[in-house]
């Protein structure tokens, strides 16, 4: 180990100068085909760059139940008769798929306004929407509530409804009509109870209450199995 002598010091300085000079040249750090490796993030971003997308995302989250909240607030309570979803076991477990009597094309064919369904539905549905008019039952309040009966079918939203009638909007999806009321997520702690109750019930005593607003949108409210009520 030698103490720095004049000539070694100057050579060290020279090499230091050389290395400094080299580092001053703008040698590309990456091959010409690669874009600059770092993002331009040297400045702090203003706050609004976060808040505007964040508000948009929060709006998306809140927007999920928004339509349903409106329907729940302004809708009218009706009761629908369920029908087995398929001849075998309905899907149980984490969620239940509900089918309704009015989901079946066969049932709707028999109603006034539904004759054209006999010819096959494809191509005749301009916006995929079907409106089913439901009429209130004449019996007084019972437990479980009495079922509203479908009286007619139309392609446009009916404007001439009586006081005891309401129009429900559905969509044809290939083999049945879908109303947006088909999914019921079972609450974890009551799943056994609900499954048990459903198994031991004849189909007629299994009805669903829903709210329907003026546009025909619907949201499910509660499930009646015999006389027991499970809120959605």
């Amino acid at each position: 180990m030698t103490s720095p002598t004049p000539d070694s010091q100057s050579s060290a300085n020279q090499s230091a100068n050389q290395s400094q000079a080299l580092s001053k040249q703008n040698l590309p750090a990456s091959p010409p085909l690669a874009p600059p490796a770092t993002q331009p993030t040297e400045r702090r971003l203003p706050g609004w760059r976060l808040w505007i997308p964040l508000l948009f995302q929060a709006a998306l989250i809140i927007g999920v139940p928004a339509q349903d909240a409106y329907t729940m607030a302004t809708g009218r309570l009706v009761t629908l008769q369920t029908a087995p979803v398929d001849p075998y076991d309905p899907l149980r477990g984490y969620y239940q798929i509900l089918g309704y009597e009015i989901s079946r094309v066969d049932r709707l064919k028999q109603l006034p306004g539904g004759e054209w369904l006999n010819q096959g539905i494809q191509g005749y549905v301009p916006e995929g929407n079907i409106y089913v008019v439901l009429e209130a039952p004449t019996v007084s309040k019972t437990n479980p509530p009495a079922v509203w009966q479908p009286v007619r079918v139309s392609l446009q939203r009916p404007t001439d409804l009586a006081d005891n009638q309401v129009a429900l909007k559905g969509q044809y999806d290939g083999w049945q009509i879908v109303y947006g009321l088909e999914t019921y997520y079972m609450p974890e702690d009551r799943r056994q109870e609900v499954n048990q109750a459903i198994t031991n019930t004849p189909q007629q005593a299994f009805v669903v209450e829903a709210k329907i607003d003026a546009q025909g949108n619907s949201v499910p409210v509660s499930l009646w199995v015999r006389d027991r009520n499970f809120r959605f």
């Binding site: 997308p53 999914t183 997520y185 609450p187 702690d189």
Partner: protein, 503 residues
């Protein structure tokens, strides 16, 4: 003392710590051997902060412990929430979810937004990614709580769109990549649930117009974030969704029929669009401006690499098309259709029209540059690609539109088409091989070889030849590959090239 230059390596990077340890060890050796003097050692010690190595190690240890503790705390919180989930009222749950999501994202942003502190930046970045995941969790849980009967692809679509907004705002590549991935996944899932009828739900509309959505939403994001990954993914999704949507068009119009024009457009438009892609496509003014002289303008870095990515993807898709249609089996599958285009769904055709305008502009640009470059250096160039595309289009249109396909004859084989496609496949792979040899570009050479070998072996396996012939062919192919590899490494001089961008 020399002025402290900015350290070239982040002081908190673990790799750099290893490097610094090694450097310290080595420089002490050099000093003792007399290779460097004390002054240089001092400068090195100062620049790489040898004295802080021990501190940094204990710091890292603390950070690991804290990370572990944080993970356990997180697990505790999640389990606590899961235990009480049913008992809480719905409004409380929504508030909890929203506040968790907002809290994480805001904290992440304010930590990330400090350019001078690397550690905070990383933590903030991680929190932002966690916030993006929480967005998805929020959407899923809220829709479950309110018994929404939507489809899974709608969830992914909305999630992806939300993440795109954040990626635009913060200019983060990681968020952008996740967003593209989610939207692509949503498209794939939504494609199968896109049934017929005039379905006007906005999510289904987005699926039908996915090529346009992706090209106008994610390609600008790729430029904004200067990310090749985002561009590559979105280019792939544009091509894939354009193709799939067009192929599905006839079947959901209520008729399972197609036509030669639709086949040609569906298979070839993505390739034509990708090949002609350039940054100039986004600027319409170049049409009236004087044509740039080659050599005088330096295209910008990111547009160069984007164009290269687009062209590589185009060649990849072209090789798939050529390979697929060189099989005689596939002509039977597509031979069941004839042409009858009443009651067509117009959405994918609208996309195809818009994108073909862009492709046309791109090809126009290429044609104008052609005037200045007499000699082409690469075999695979725009002229060859254009020629191949034209030939394939002609074959499709002629075969599907103007010939009567005898469907009841199982032995029917369209010989002309097969010959044409096999010749094109052969020429294309030879072109790739030749370019690889000429430019010393290894991946290109091997791509050509692979295509050639695949073609030979497929033909051999497809037509029932004797086992002896098969063994001879396999042997020749094996020997050929080995010989080509050795010859290539010995003779070709590898250079970094701007392959595919000459012309």
């Amino acid at each position: 003392m020399a002025a402290s230059a900015p350290s070239p390596i982040g002081l908190n990077d673990m790799n750099s710590e290893q490097f610094r340890r090694q450097l310290r060890h080595e420089s002490e050796q050099w000093w003792s051997e007399g290779l460097i003097n004390a002054d240089l050692y001092e400068k090195l010690a100062d620049r790489y902060q040898f004295d802080r190595l021990e501190q940094d190690a204990s710091h890292r240890f603390i950070m690991i412990l804290m990370g572990l503790g944080a993970v356990l705390l997180g697990l505790a919180a999640i389990t606590f929430v899961a235990a009480n989930w049913q008992a809480w009222p719905r409004s409380f749950k929504v508030v909890l979810l929203l506040s968790c999501f907002l809290g994480v994202t805001v904290t992440g942003f304010y930590l990330w937004n400090r350019p001078e502190q690397q550690r905070h930046r990383r933590l903030g970045h991680g929190l932002l990614l966690l916030g993006a995941l929480l967005l998805g969790a929020n959407l899923g849980l809220v829709s479950q709580m309110f018994h929404q009967s939507g489809e899974v692809f709608e969830l992914f679509l909305v999630w992806g769109l939300g993440m795109t907004a954040m990626a635009y705002g913060l200019r983060l590549t990681s968020l952008g990549v996740m967003a593209v991935g989610l939207v692509g996944l949503a498209y794939q899932m939504g494609f199968f649930s896109w049934f017929g009828g005039q379905d006007l739900a906005w999510t289904h509309l987005l699926i039908q117009h996915m090529p346009l959505v992706v090209s106008f939403l994610f390609v600008p994001l790729a430029y904004w974030c200067r990310s090749r990954v985002i561009f590559g993914l979105s280019a792939f999704i544009v091509a894939y969704s354009l193709f799939l949507n067009l192929i599905k068009t006839p079947s959901i119009s209520g008729l399972s029929l197609t036509s030669g024009w639709l086949m040609a457009i569906a298979w070839l438009l993505p390739i034509a669009l990708l090949w002609s892609y350039s940054r100039a496509m986004w600027q319409f003014s170049h049409l009236s401006a004087p044509v740039a002289q080659p050599g005088l303008t330096q295209p910008r870095m990111e547009s160069d690499s984007f164009q290269a990515i687009a062209r590589i993807l185009a060649l990849f898709l072209l090789s798939i098309v050529l390979y697929l249609f060189s099989f005689k089996g596939i002509w039977r599958v597509w031979g069941w259709f004839n042409s009858d285009l009443t009651n067509l769904i117009w959405h994918p055709l609208f996309d195809a029209m818009i994108l073909s305008v862009f492709a046309g502009l791109g090809w126009l640009q290429i044609a104008r540059q052609f005037q200045f470059q007499r000699r082409t250096t690469t075999a695979i160039n725009s002229g060859l690609v254009a020629l191949i595309l034209l030939i394939v289009a002609t074959v499709f249109v002629y075969y599907f539109e103007f010939t009567i396909i005898p469907l009841d004859n199982p032995a029917f084989v369209p010989i002309v088409n097969l010959v044409v496609f096999n010749i094109l496949l052969f020429l294309f792979s030879m072109g790739l091989i030749r370019d690889g040899l000429a430019l010393g570009d290894r991946p290109v050479f091997w791509a050509g070889m692979v295509l050639l070998i695949l073609g030979i072996i497929s033909r051999m396996l497809e037509y029932n030849t004797g086992l002896l012939l098969k063994s001879i062919v396999f042997g020749l192919c094996g020997v050929g590959i080995i010989a080509a590899g050795i010859w290539f490494e010995r003779n070709a001089k590898p250079q970094s090239t701007r392959y595919l961008l000459k012309y």
